[in-house]
Subunit: 357 residues, 2 copies
């Protein structure tokens, strides 16, 4: 079993009110680079930021890393438009960072990115892959693509209160900037991604399409961002079986309405509950309160955990949190401040699959 | 335990008589890219070549991969000057491919490469790392650096008959082109690497120095190329404990004289015999005949194998060979031909640590 993680950025994350990035733009640009260091090394190494919210909610990369310390799977990270250096190894598919969706073009050469990713996906020798992502601002670009495709699906958020009206307003502006009406890209999913999406979508869709072409089973590991990618694949005429594996936190989010959407897109849906409810650790409590919810392949890798191993995953999660400066009772502010974060109480660094709020 | 592999190229490998690259230059340029795909995926994926000699001797990457299928260790590949695309993830330290040592400069900005690698090495959270390499032509650049440092050590070869006189003639020309006498760089190891070395040396030396600085134990996994790097570190004033872990095939090579050299450089030496002797598989026989010998971290990862596990490593090695088109009796020529190799009976693709013959 191989888990493939596409890590990238979009300047959409910098839009005021869309995410805390207006207050801490460096954090948003750095988060995917830090996330993949956490996956590879267990903590950020080269990256100057530690993606932990002031309330003590770490990036979902911490959960994915915890699973990795318990369950045996291969992990391959693809650079899907990183904006900052990383000490983590990545597959280079020459994917540029994404522009603000309110520009006429959000993903330059989306079709070329898709094709390179498709070749990479087709080259994989695995029988089965889980594809995840990390891209701050990604639920807004997901809403953009779903709207351009004419899909009625809602999107989730990494914040307890989903700023959905703000996202809808951004998407409306974005479609206008690209001279598109809602549903205008029904038959042109790469047009939708190019106009109002992000480079991670083009990369994940390409990897999935290539892997399916070559007979590899594909699970999209993530929440509503993966719904947008599944929709893009279906609108591209991909008829192979597709699965989405996400967390209970996304599945419980009424704005996502995941089950009905998966039915409509003919996607299997797997929901995994990591068993954080009722635990005393502040980070688990934050996830249960609706922060972060999903991302960095979290739901995908949780689906690989046997029932008997989930307690070990929670133990490892606490250990990863400790490395990130989070004790059972909260963030070690000294350590968090040293991470280039924590000083700004509004910053939301729990970027990931449903990472842009 | 983390194994770090630095993969790169030098145009030195293209010198006629130094390696078979004169007959198959693409093969030499491609081999490190294919090697790291074998480590990551078990076989080449994007790379159009399969590094297997016409006699049925696969790249040492096949052994390293076999160990990886038995022993649990983290593997991180660093791009130390790759010349061709790869489907494998790599850490990007902006290391350019190396020039022919007979040019005035063999490694542009060797000091800057060393510094970037040192920062990366210092960032690693591990207690212990093994650092390996793959660079065709690497024993010639090793001889170059050893000569420029004034070290009397000999170098090994990936061929049963070491073309040592040819290498010495190239090094003589290389020193002249850089206006250097033997031993001229006694106090300037990065000057030696820059003038007559390769980018993988600058990268490995930097990673090792940075890791040692931050309290990480370092084992250099390889043969006489690692001797050159150990010598460079000692000449740079690094006094920390250093170990070299190599294969019995290098240790038995009289041109290497490894034990005395390690004594002089105050390096611990670990030699591991994979137990290929007496086996019927053609690839194991080729290793016992002195082909390949070492490379792609082979000796380093073999030192991580418990005695009771070596039989499992040999089993996995046979399985990896089968994936590369080598049956127990020899190369499947059809498959090898399809790999972009095998048609040229003189081509020697078993590049690696002692990869340039």
């Amino acid at each position: 079993m191989r888990v493939i993680l596409a890590a990238g950025t979009t300047e959409t994350a910098l839009i005021d009110g869309i995410s805390a990035a207006g207050a801490a733009p460096e954090l948003m640009a750095q988060t995917p680079s830090a996330d993949i260091e956490i996956l590879e090394y267990g903590r950020p190494t080269v990256s100057p930021v530690t993606p932990v919210s002031p309330t003590g909610c770490p990036t979902p990369a911490a959960v994915t890393r915890a699973v990795r310390e318990v369950v045996d799977f291969d992990l391959t990270v693809v650079d899907a438009g990183l904006a900052r250096p990383t000490g983590s190894p990545t597959v280079d598919l020459s994917v540029p960072a994404g522009a603000d969706v309110r520009e006429p073009t959000a993903v330059p050469d989306a079709s070329a990115v898709f094709e390179r990713a498709r070749e990479f996906g087709a080259s994989l020798p695995d029988d089965e892959v889980v594809v995840g992502e990390t891209v701050p601002g990604g639920t807004t670009t997901a809403l953009g693509v779903l709207t351009a495709l004419g899909e009625p699906a809602g999107v989730s958020s990494s914040l307890p209160e989903n700023p959905l009206e703000r996202k809808e307003a951004v998407v409306e502006t974005a479609l206008e900037a690209s001279d598109l009406a809602p549903a205008a890209c029904e038959d042109d999913p790469l047009g939708a991604i190019g106009a109002v999406g992000d480079p991670v979508q083009a990369t994940v869709a390409g990897i999935a399409a290539g892997a399916l072409d070559s007979g590899t089973d594909v699970t999209l590991g993530g929440g509503t961002q993966m719904v947008a990618i599944a929709a893009a694949l279906r609108h591209a005429g991909v008829e192979d079986p597709l699965s989405i594996a996400t967390t209970s936190f996304v599945a419980e989010d009424p704005s996502a309405d995941l089950e009905a959407t998966c039915d409509r897109l003919d996607c299997d849906l797997t929901v995994t509950d990591p068993g954080f409810r009722g635990r005393e650790h502040v980070s688990m409590q934050r996830y249960c309160a609706g922060e972060a919810k999903e991302g960095v392949g979290m739901g995908g890798v949780l689906s690989l955990v046997d029932d008997g191993e989930m307690a070990a995953v929670r133990d490892r999660f606490e250990a990863v949190c400790a490395r990130l400066g989070i004790g059972a009772d909260g963030v070690d502010l000294e350590s968090a401040a040293g991470s280039g974060h924590g000083a700004d109480a509004d910053a939301d660094a729990t970027a990931g699959a449903d990472g842009g709020p």
